[in-house]
Amino acid sequence: MTDDAITPSSPPPTRRRRSRAPVVRHALLIGWAAIVMFPIFWMLQTSFKDSGEWVSWPPHWLPHNPTLKNYAQIFTFDVTGVAREATEQPFNIWGSLVDSLVICTVASLIALAMGTFLAYAISRFNVGGGKFRHMVLLIRMIPPIVVAIPLLMYYAILIPYATDSLFGARISLFDTRTGVSLLYLTITLPFVIWMMLSFIDEVPYTLEHAARVMGAGRLYTLRKVVLPLVASGMVVTFLFVFILNWAEFLLALTLTHPNVSTLPVLLNKFQSASEGRLYGPQAAIGTVITIPVVVLGVLIQKHLVKGFSFGMVRR
């Protein structure tokens, strides 16, 4: 080491030392990449295995007889048509798929609309004071289990009780799409506000000012000047919030039981069966849940860190 520093004119040892480093580096990186990809690969290949191969010893790394049976099972409309009716498991994912899509889309869209306007108000008028930006984080940092118990009681007791005494009809938000959407909307609002703040802060106020001076109304300016500039940011925020909602498990598990179920809850139902677990259909459901989200995630990769780190990290 010190020799190199003293005699920089001796290239061979330097080059040899440097030339080994990249190989080690790439080996380490490829090693971690293998660790990262392995569980996903295992799920993918299990989803193409037939029942005999699910738990064979030694396990097969690739299905010997690739089959689409698992996908056929979960996407079938007719449960009784499937060979394994004895296990009385909910094979069908259509119900959960629709529930998940509706809940996530509605909650994300409304959260996006509300959050964007508030972010604009915070950015331009400093609504709520300077500390408000950080206070919004509080809601997000509360562990979901602490929210889950109050919400269960709220949805299942207070709201039916209140509507019963006020309007004479028991309305319960428990186990409804509306209830879950409302909750998702609330817990993702802090994220929307944070992400949209970082996008709106980047729009120069002089642009808006110019439009206003030239006689454009406030709403017109917002629509024609600000909105086009933050549109891509809104798409990114929407996708990010959608992914969060799509992945949410604890609250969906606690606030829905027989009627509504999101995809993670459905996957868990399979897991709780102690006898004769259906590894193949489970893997197929896992694949169906994962692939679209990973594709979306790769598209907005650059912005993910902004969301996950509350905009604390730049870029």
Binding site: F38, M114, L138, M153, T186
Partner: protein, 328 residues
């Protein structure tokens, strides 16, 4: 003449139908309305969905009530529920276990994420591919990640197959049931968490590394600093904000650990993998101890808010510092 009358009437109608809309937009365009509507909407949602339920929960935590009896028959019981929670060994054990899991997972995630970010930062070829691959776990739904690991830890799973050549010479049956052993099950959950969330620490550190000013490092090199000196005296201090952010965000999230516990072990064997989230969930949804759960929620909220405020304080201080640095 009739034509003119018709046009006049049409114009009149158009004006009349346009008026309410224009009045609405004029009202909206007032600054005070424009400012406060979104604020009131959002705050209203927070109050309705978070604050009101919490007030209800505080009330319920003073009741003597299980879900198998009607709510109207519940009687007030004072601080009995709080007493029960505070003297419950399971509650404290689960809380301690949560901190243990979070500590172990966060330390591993920080170290691995840091090393990976450092390596990727120095690599030129295949950089984008590495980054894309390393970020994938973050996008995998946690429940699916839990399922994947349950397949890997299976007694006839790939992990045992890979370990078989090493354990078979010692006469051990290679089909080990990892999730039936308390300590192995705990580490199974920690490793699943590390697999998923190292991607986030990696990303935070990577953006920290790429924000390093090259002039400073070049200057240090010109002045004859060795690689190690540059790392410890130039790069590491500059990476401090990224480290604080990673620690705070990951610890907050790790304390919520729930999904892999449900998917991998259901809190078992025994209670060895019950985190606080799982413990409470079981008390309320399996044993119907509602008022107990309510009291525990309130206590937990108090415990966590201390941590949350510390975390936010650290974050705001850090962001203020980095803001200052950026201005200079």
């Amino acid at each position: 003449m009739t034509e003119a009358a018709a046009t006049a009437r049409r114009e009149d109608e158009a004006r009349r139908s346009a008026r309410p809309r224009r009045r609405l937009s004029a009202w909206l365009a007032q600054e005070r309305v424009f400012r406060w509507i979104p604020f009131i909407l959002v705050e209203g949602t927070f109050v309705l969905v978070i604050i009101v339920p919490f007030i209800l929960t505080i009330y319920i935590s003073f009741l003597r009530w299980r879900a198998n009896r009607p709510f109207e028959q519940a009687t007030l019981s004072g601080f009995r529920n709080y007493e029960q929670v505070l003297t419950d060994a399971g509650f404290w054990a689960a809380l301690g276990r949560t901190f243990y899991f979070a500590g172990a997972a966060v330390i591993l995630e920080l170290v691995i994420g840091f090393v990976l970010a450092m390596l990727v930062h120095r690599v030129v070829r295949f950089r984008r591919i590495y980054i894309t691959v390393f970020l994938i776990p973050m996008m995998v739904v946690p429940v699916v990640a839990g399922y994947n690991f349950s397949m890997i830890y299976l007694d006839s799973g790939p992990l045992n197959q890979l370990l078989a050549p090493f354990v078979e010479p010692f006469g051990i049956n290679p089909r080990i049931r990892w999730l039936s052993d308390p300590i192995a099950a705990q580490w199974a959950i920690i490793l699943a968490d590390v697999w998923q969330w190292t991607s986030l620490t990696f990303l935070i550190f990577l953006s920290g590394f790429s924000a390093l000013p090259p002039q400073l490092i070049n200057a240090a090199r010109v002045m004859g600093a060795s690689r190690r000196q540059i790392f410890f005296w130039v790069e590491l201090p500059l990476l401090k904000p990224a480290i604080v952010i990673a620690v705070v965000i990951r610890s907050m999230e790790a304390l919520k650990l729930f999904d892999p516990v449900v998917l991998l072990t259901f809190g078992g064997p025994g209670t060895s993998t019950q985190t606080i989230a799982y413990y409470l969930w079981e008390q309320v949804w399996q044993f119907n101890k509602f008022s107990f759960g309510a009291a525990a929620s309130i206590l937990l909220l108090i415990i966590f808010s201390v941590l949350i405020f510390t975390g936010i304080w650290a974050l705001t201080r850090q962001s203020a510092a980095s803001e200052r640095a950026r201005i200079q």
